[in-house]
């Protein structure tokens, strides 16, 4: 199955969920990742339900945040 992940074409074996895809792609701390498929951002609860399909355009991004809290 051919898909695009972060702008790069990839060949994946078999149908798999987004949760499984994050494992296959060795994404560390998947709980801190946002996922967009074909322009739609998924809720985290959907990761174990949504099945990746042929020609899907998938983007992964880490949560980005921080701040000076507690710094002197």
């Amino acid at each position: 199955m051919k898909v695009q992940i972060n702008g790069q074409e990839k060949e994946l074996a078999g149908p798999l969920t987004v949760e499984e895809l994050l494992k296959v792609e060795n994404v560390k701390m998947p709980e801190m990742v946002s996922v967009e498929i074909n322009g739609e951002i998924l809720d985290r609860e959907q990761f174990s339900e949504v099945i990746v399909k042929e020609d899907d355009e998938i983007e992964f991004l880490y949560f980005m945040g921080g701040g000076a809290c507690g710094l002197y």
């Binding site: 560390k28 980005m64 945040g65 000076a68 809290c69």
Partner: protein, 139 residues
């Protein structure tokens, strides 16, 4: 590893931080990586959805849009930056805790001394391994 930052982008970052003061500002860094240096060619100011002097959070929707712009410009997403309105240019505990990508560059612009902003870039590998990188502002 040396970080090269275009003067115009450096000034844009300072202008953003001052405009959003007393809140923290934030943004993404795009450019090219070489073996011994990283050149930041464009910065992308982002909305700090926290609207806070002590925290920042980027909106994933805006992040995804900028990532595509970066890719279309033939550049790489190489890091992010934020300002510390009242404190030094070094990562806080929260900055370290939320630094999920060891290959990402983390820029912190301090406005502690408002007339003389201080910018440093870091690699954050773990709470005990934070590396401050040399920086060159390129005219």
């Amino acid at each position: 590893m040396k970080i090269i930052l275009q003067q115009a982008e450096y000034e844009k970052m300072i202008k953003q931080a001052r405009a959003e003061f007393p809140h923290e500002c934030c943004g993404l860094l795009a450019g090219q990586k070489a073996e011994d240096h990283i050149e930041i060619q464009m910065i992308f100011p982002m909305v700090n959805v926290d609207g806070s002097s002590e925290h920042f959070t980027m909106d994933p929707k805006e992040q995804f849009a900028v990532v595509k712009k970066v890719r279309n410009a033939g550049l790489q997403l190489i890091g992010n930056y934020h300002s510390h309105p009242y404190t030094p240019s070094r990562p806080s505990g929260e900055d370290i805790r939320l630094a999920h990508d060891p290959d990402f560059l983390y820029g912190i612009l301090s406005l502690e001394h408002s007339e003389t902003p201080v910018l440093h870039f870091f690699y954050i590998h773990s709470p005990t391994k934070v590396t401050k990188l040399e920086i060159e502002i390129k005219r």
